[in-house]
Homo-oligomer: 244 residues x 2
């Protein structure tokens, strides 16, 4: 332990008391890590995804200020390129969805290729009993191919309605439909409802209400008087979710 | 010209007729290029920008299907990192804003550093007589520092209101305010109004209406019956804007 000194700057006569201290601190650290169960939210992307569908979800989900709240962009490559050419680095592989608390699928032209790629689909082993699973727009096609929409009502983007119906799904003209832990949203801005559902279930209504308010137009859902409340979204995360 | 053959596959006795043909085609090509005046839309980013403020604008503006419509993300670095850690490559330097038809400023924690950086501010030489200039949320602080909001009404994000007022700007609780060619929007989702304003002015009302409709929630502004119209956003660009 070399030149370890005590608080008075005096060299310790006996380093064993420090050895014990470090040992105790290391044990406490491990205990703390175990008690802080991470809430893991994953967003699945692929090439030719729709930019706003990823980034509206990503931005909203990242506004939750809880220390154990983690949002990850997952894909089968180190980076995926959106329909408009934006390259986005992924944080991990698709297989990481399998132990996430929430798994959200983006949409875009690329979904047509994904639902035809059995090797890609095989990487998912999702469990709607334990995980919150959702999609925006044509992401519903992936949920259907994964067998998550059987005998369920769902929504999607207008240009994907017929194809989704061909998978035996009853498609309803609504922005958001949740069946237990599986939800679909249709129309880019409906990802607010999808994210609100995930946040409310995993972090509490306080956060979903505040976060959804924080992106509304000024004078139309967000007001100058909200300043102090909004500032809570910019402070360091707290270790516990504020109760509903 | 080597082995040039005519339509019957016969080797030409006299290559001069082909030389003339190629010369004429090259001239026509140049003429066509000159007549297709590019509409250049630039979005200015910087480190610690708010993700949704860039990507909602980027996505909407890229939905315009006109061949001469170009959207560029500009910054002072090859890539900028958002407030949540997303790295986005830029398409060019800030100075490129000076000949753009529209210049839009994003917002985020990073605006505070930008408005204190005189070297960065000096790179802009914008002309509100010839360019459409706008901002979302705290981007209004940059417009103010560039002298574009003097004696004008403006809007911004609740947490930036006091600072914007300290620059002598009268801040109004509205989602969108346009003064001639200079506009401010407040609250992330108000970038719909900002982009709609740019698109209507530079591409026509047909495109702004269709594009804004295309991102609404299903059943709340976007309907399954809109499928055929929405498909126009996924075809190859046309060479001319559809008239209002």
């Amino acid at each position: 332990m070399g030149d370890v000194r005590d608080f008075d700057g005096q060299c310790c006569r006996d380093h064993r008391q420090f050895d014990f201290l470090f040992y105790a601190l290391a044990r406490l650290d491990k205990l703390e890590q175990r008690s802080a169960v991470m809430t893991k939210i994953s967003i699945v992307i692929f090439d030719k995804f729709t930019d706003v569908d990823l980034f509206l979800m990503w931005d909203l989900l990242n506004r939750v200020r809880i220390a154990d709240w983690k949002v990850l962009i997952l894909g089968e490559k180190d980076a995926h390129v959106s329909a408009t050419g934006i390259s986005v680095n992924t944080h991990g592989q698709i297989e990481e969805t399998n132990d996430a608390n929430a798994v959200l699928f983006v949409s875009g032209q690329g979904t047509r290729e994904r639902i035809a790629d059995e090797n890609w689909l095989k990487k998912f082993s999702l469990n709607p009993e334990k995980q919150f699973i959702g999609s925006i727009c044509s992401g519903a096609l992936i949920l259907a191919k994964l067998g998550l929409l059987q005998n369920k009502l769902a929504t999607t983007y207008p240009t994907s309605k017929t194809l989704l119906e061909s998978f035996g799904v009853e498609v309803v003209e609504k922005p958001f439909i949740a069946n237990g832990n599986v939800a679909t949203a249709g129309g880019c801005l409906a990802s607010q409802k999808l994210c609100g559902w995930v946040i409310e279930n995993l972090a509490g209504k306080y956060w979903s209400d505040l976060i959804l308010k924080s992106i509304q137009p000024v004078g139309e859902g967000l007001y100058f008087d909200d300043e102090e409340e909004i500032k809570r979204l910019y402070v360091a995360p707290t270790t516990k979710a504020i109760a509903n």
